[in-house]
C-alpha cells in the first residue's frame, strides 16, 4: 500500500485527489447552500464553530504529520544513507553531463546490487532521471555546475532491462535530445 503511494508518481497524484476531493465537496456544498438555497445567516451555536475549528486543525495536522512521517522510509536520501552504511558491495557509476550528452564510466549493473550514481555538470544545469522500461521515473537528480561534490544517490535495481536516462532540467535548444541508456543485467550471485 505505502509502496504504491510513495514509489510512484501516480501515488502522488492519488494523494492530490485525496486532499482535493473532500475539499471540493465541502466547499461547493457550503457555497451553493449559503448562496442559492438558504442565504440567511446560520443559527449554529458559536461553541460548535470553535469545536469544529479545533477538529479541522487537528485533522489537517494529523494528515500532514502522518503523510510526512510515513514517507521517511521512502526518501532516497534515507535509503542512500542506509545502503552506504550497510557494508554491502556498492557499484560506483560516475558520470558527467554536458550539453547535450551524458558521459558514463564503464560499469556492469546487476539486479539486487546497490549502485551509487555520482554525477557532475560541466557547463549548465542538467538533470539525470532514470526511467524504468515501463516509463515510470525511478528517481531524478539535479546537477549544478561548479559544485565541489557530485550529486549522488544509491539505488538498487529490482528488474533487469534497458533503462532510459533523460535530462529533466532545461538546458537549451537540444534539451529533449539529451538522453542515454543503462542496461541492468540479472545478478550473477
Amino acid at each position: 500500500m505505502l509502496d504504491s503511494l510513495f514509489l510512484s508518481g501516480w501515488g502522488a497524484f492519488g494523494m492530490v485527489l485525496f486532499l482535493l476531493i473532500p475539499f471540493l465537496f465541502v466547499f461547493f456544498y457550503v457555497v451553493f447552500r449559503k448562496s442559492f438555497v438558504d442565504s440567511n445567516p446560520g443559527t449554529t451555536d458559536a461553541k460548535k464553530y470553535v469545536r469544529l475549528e479545533g477538529m479541522w486543525i487537528g485533522l489537517v495536522v494529523l494528515v500532514f504529520v502522518g503523510v510526512n512521517i510515513a514517507s521517511i522510509g521512502y526518501m532516497p536520501t534515507v535509503s542512500t544513507a542506509k545502503a552506504a552504511t550497510s557494508g554491502q558491495d556498492i557499484i560506483d557509476v560516475n558520470f558527467t553531463a554536458k550539453s547535450w550528452v551524458f558521459d558514463f564510466a564503464e560499469a556492469t549493473i546487476e539486479v539486487g546490487r546497490p549502485v551509487r550514481f555520482s554525477g557532475k555538470s560541466l557547463d549548465t544545469m542538467h538533470g539525470f532521471a532514470v526511467y524504468h522500461p515501463s516509463g515510470k521515473v525511478l528517481f531524478t537528480m539535479m546537477l549544478m555546475p561548479g559544485m565541489e561534490k557530485p550529486t549522488s544517490l544509491i539505488h538498487t535495481f529490482t528488474e533487469p532491462g534497458t533503462y532510459t536516462v533523460r535530462c529533466l532540467e532545461y538546458c537549451g535548444i537540444a534539451h529533449h535530445e539529451m538522453r542515454d541508456e543503462i542496461v541492468v543485467i540479472k545478478g550473477t550471485g
Binding site: 510513495f6 514509489l7 510512484s8 508518481g9 501516480w10 501515488g11 502522488a12 497524484f13 494523494m15 492530490v16 486532499l19 482535493l20 466547499f27 457555497v31 449559503k34 448562496s35 438558504d38 442565504s39 440567511n40 445567516p41 446560520g42 449554529t44 475549528e53 479541522w56 489537517v60 500532514f64 510526512n68 521517511i72 521512502y74 526518501m75 532516497p76 536520501t77 542512500t80 544513507a81 550539453s99 557547463d123 549548465t124 544545469m125 538533470g127 532521471a129 526511467y131 516509463g135 521515473v137 525511478l138 528517481f139 531524478t140 537528480m141 539535479m142 549544478m144 561548479g146 559544485m147 550529486t151 529533466l168 532540467e169 538546458c171 537549451g172 535548444i173 534539451h175 529533449h176 535530445e177
Partner: protein
C-alpha cells in the same frame, strides 16, 4: 509628468475597457492602477495565445526551437507583466482607497515603466533566440552565448529587461505600498472604505510588500552586479562571486519562491476583504479576524525557508536535513491554507452570501489555488520530489498557482471596476467566463499533474518521445476552454455600460429583506 489618465484616454481599446471616471475626484487612486490592470490584460493575451500554441507546435511538428521560444515567452509574459502587474494594479488601488493615500507621482510611473519596458526587452531577446525558460536556468544564459545558441548582445538585452522587471517588483512596488500603508498624510477625500493594518484584508498586503523587498534584495544586488559586468563597466572577473551558479540559483529561488508566496499572501488578503462585502447579512465581518490573520502569519513564516524544496534532488549538495526542512515548511504552508479554507467557509455559513459574478470568480480562483496547494505540498515531499522534480507536474503546479492567484484578482476587479470607471460589467457574461475558465484551468492542471506522474518531462520539445502527446492534446483542449473564457472576460469590459455605480454595484446594492 507621465499621466496615466491621458494614456488610458488616448490608447485605443484601453479607453473602451478601462477609462477612469474623471468626475469623481478619485483619479489619484484609480489612474495608475487602471493602466496597470489593462496593460496586464495585453500580456495575458500574449501569454494565452502562446500557451494554446505550445501543444499545437508539438502536434504539428513546427520545430523545437519555436517550441522553446514559445515556452520562454509564455512563462515570462504570464508571471511578471500579467500576474504581478494585475496584482500591483488592484492592490495599489485597494491600499490607496483603504487608507486614503494617493497612488500618484514618480513611483507608480517607475513601477509601470520598468515592468513593461523590461518585459518588452525580454520578449525581444526571446524572439532573437534567448530561450532559457521562465526561471532562466542560470548559468544557461551565459553558456548559451558560449555554445552559439544566442549572441552576447541578446544576453545583455535580456538581462537589461530582467533587471528592469526586478527593480519594479523588488524596489519600486514594495516601497510604494509601504509608503501608502505607513507614511504620508491621510486624505479623507480618497477614502473608499477605511481599514487599518489589523484588518486581514490589509495585513496580507503589508506582509507581501515586506517579503518582496527583503527576500528580493540579495537577488537584486547579484543581478545588478552581473548586469554592470555585462555592460563592461566592471570586469567579469570582479563579479565571479555573483556568477557562481550556486550563488545565483539560491538567490533566485529564495526570491522566486517567496514572490509566489507574497502573491498568495496578497491575494488571500484580497479574498478576505472582498468576501466581507458580499455577506448576506451585511455585517462585513469575517468568521474570525484572529484565524484569518493567523493563516497569513503561518503562510508568511513557513514560506521563508520552504524554497529549499526546489533543490531536494541536489543531494548531497543540499544536505538531507535542509531538504527535509523544506519539505516540512512546505506542508506548513498547507496549514495556513487550511485555516484560510475554514475562515472562508465558516464566514459563508455564519453570514450567508450574496452571490455575484465577481464573488464567484474570487471563490473559483481560491479553489484553483487550493488545487495548486495540494500539488505543491505533494511535490515538496522528499520521497515524491525525487520522482516528480523536472516533470510536467512542476509546470502544472506553476501554471496553477499563477492562474489561481490571477483569477482571484480578476474577481476582485468586478468589485472595483465600477468605482474606477463608473461603468458596470455584465453579470451573466461574468458567470459564463468563470464557469468555462474554471473547467479549463482545473482540467489543464489535473492533466499536467497526471502527465508528470507518468514521467512526462517539463520544458521538453518532444512529447512524442515517451508517448506523452495525449497529455499535450488534453492540455490543448482545456487551454482552449480557458481561452474562450478569457475572450468573454475581455468582451465584458468592451461591453461595459455606464451606470450610477453607487446604486447598481452588487457590492453596494441594498441588503436583502430579513
Amino acid at each position: 509628468m507621465l499621466s496615466a489618465t491621458k494614456i488610458l484616454r488616448r490608447t485605443p481599446v484601453f479607453n473602451r475597457m478601462f477609462a477612469v471616471d474623471e468626475s469623481d475626484g478619485l483619479e489619484e487612486i484609480n489612474s495608475w492602477p487602471a493602466l496597470m490592470i489593462v496593460t496586464s490584460f495585453v500580456w495575458l493575451a500574449v501569454a494565452g495565445l502562446l500557451g494554446v500554441a505550445m501543444p499545437l507546435i508539438q502536434r504539428m511538428d513546427l520545430g523545437t526551437d519555436l517550441y522553446y521560444m514559445a515556452l520562454t515567452a509564455h512563462g515570462a509574459a504570464l508571471a511578471f507583466p500579467f500576474v504581478f502587474q494585475i496584482m500591483v494594479g488592484i492592490s495599489l488601488h485597494r491600499a490607496g482607497g483603504c487608507v486614503g493615500k494617493p497612488v500618484s507621482g514618480l513611483l507608480p510611473a517607475l513601477i509601470y515603466l520598468c515592468m513593461n519596458v523590461g518585459a518588452a526587452l525580454l520578449t525581444v531577446a526571446i524572439l532573437l533566440g534567448f530561450s532559457v525558460s521562465l526561471v532562466m536556468m542560470y548559468p544557461l544564459p551565459v553558456v548559451g552565448v558560449g555554445n552559439g545558441q544566442w549572441s552576447y548582445g541578446t544576453l545583455v538585452l535580456a538581462f537589461t529587461g530582467i533587471g528592469l522587471v526586478l527593480f519594479s517588483m523588488i524596489v519600486f512596488y514594495p516601497v510604494q505600498m509601504l509608503k501608502i500603508m505607513f507614511f504620508g498624510q491621510k486624505r479623507p477625500d480618497l477614502i473608499l472604505d477605511e481599514r487599518s493594518i489589523n484588518d486581514p484584508g490589509m495585513l496580507g498586503m503589508a506582509l507581501a510588500a515586506l517579503v518582496l523587498l527583503i527576500m528580493g534584495t540579495p537577488l537584486l544586488i547579484i543581478a545588478t552586479y552581473v548586469l554592470v559586468a555585462l555592460y563592461g563597466i566592471i570586469p567579469l572577473g570582479a563579479v565571479a562571486w555573483a556568477t557562481e551558479p550556486v550563488v545565483f540559483q539560491f538567490a533566485f529561488f529564495t526570491f522566486a519562491h517567496n514572490l509566489m508566496e507574497a502573491m498568495a499572501l496578497m491575494v488571500i488578503s484580497g479574498v478576505y476583504a472582498t468576501l466581507m462585502l458580499y455577506l448576506a447579512d451585511g455585517t462585513r465581518q469575517l468568521y474570525s479576524n484572529r484565524l484569518a490573520n493567523l493563516s497569513l502569519w503561518i503562510l508568511l513564516l513557513t514560506s521563508f525557508s520552504s524554497f529549499f524544496h526546489h533543490f531536494i534532488t541536489l543531494f548531497p549538495n543540499l544536505p538531507a536535513t535542509l531538504a527535509y526542512h523544506g519539505n516540512i515548511m512546505s506542508w506548513g504552508t498547507g496549514i495556513g491554507a487550511a485555516l484560510s479554507i475554514f475562515t472562508i467557509l465558516a464566514t459563508a455559513w455564519k453570514h450567508g452570501l450574496r452571490m455575484s459574478a465577481g464573488l464567484m470568480t474570487v471563490l473559483m480562483g481560491f479553489v484553483i489555488y487550493i488545487l495548486d496547494g495540494a500539488s505543491a505540498v505533494v511535490t515538496s515531499n522528499v520521497a515524491w520530489s525525487f520522482q516528480l522534480h523536472g516533470t510536467m507536474w512542476q509546470s502544472g503546479h506553476t501554471m496553477t498557482v499563477l492562474i489561481g492567484v490571477s483569477v482571484m484578482w480578476m474577481g476582485v476587479i468586478y468589485h472595483h471596476y465600477p468605482v474606477m470607471t463608473g461603468r458596470m460589467l455584465d453579470e451573466k457574461l461574468g458567470y459564463w467566463f468563470i464557469s468555462l475558465f474554471t473547467v479549463g484551468a482545473v482540467g489543464a492542471a489535473l492533466v499536467m499533474l497526471a502527465g508528470g506522474a507518468a514521467g512526462m518531462p517539463r520544458r521538453f520539445a518532444d512529447w512524442a518521445q515517451g508517448g506523452w502527446m495525449v497529455y499535450g492534446d488534453l492540455i490543448q483542449l482545456f487551454g482552449l476552454l480557458m481561452a474562450v473564457g478569457l475572450v468573454l472576460y475581455a468582451v465584458n469590459f468592451m461591453k461595459s455600460r455606464q451606470i450610477d455605480a453607487l446604486s447598481e454595484s452588487p457590492a453596494t446594492a441594498p441588503e436583502p429583506a430579513e
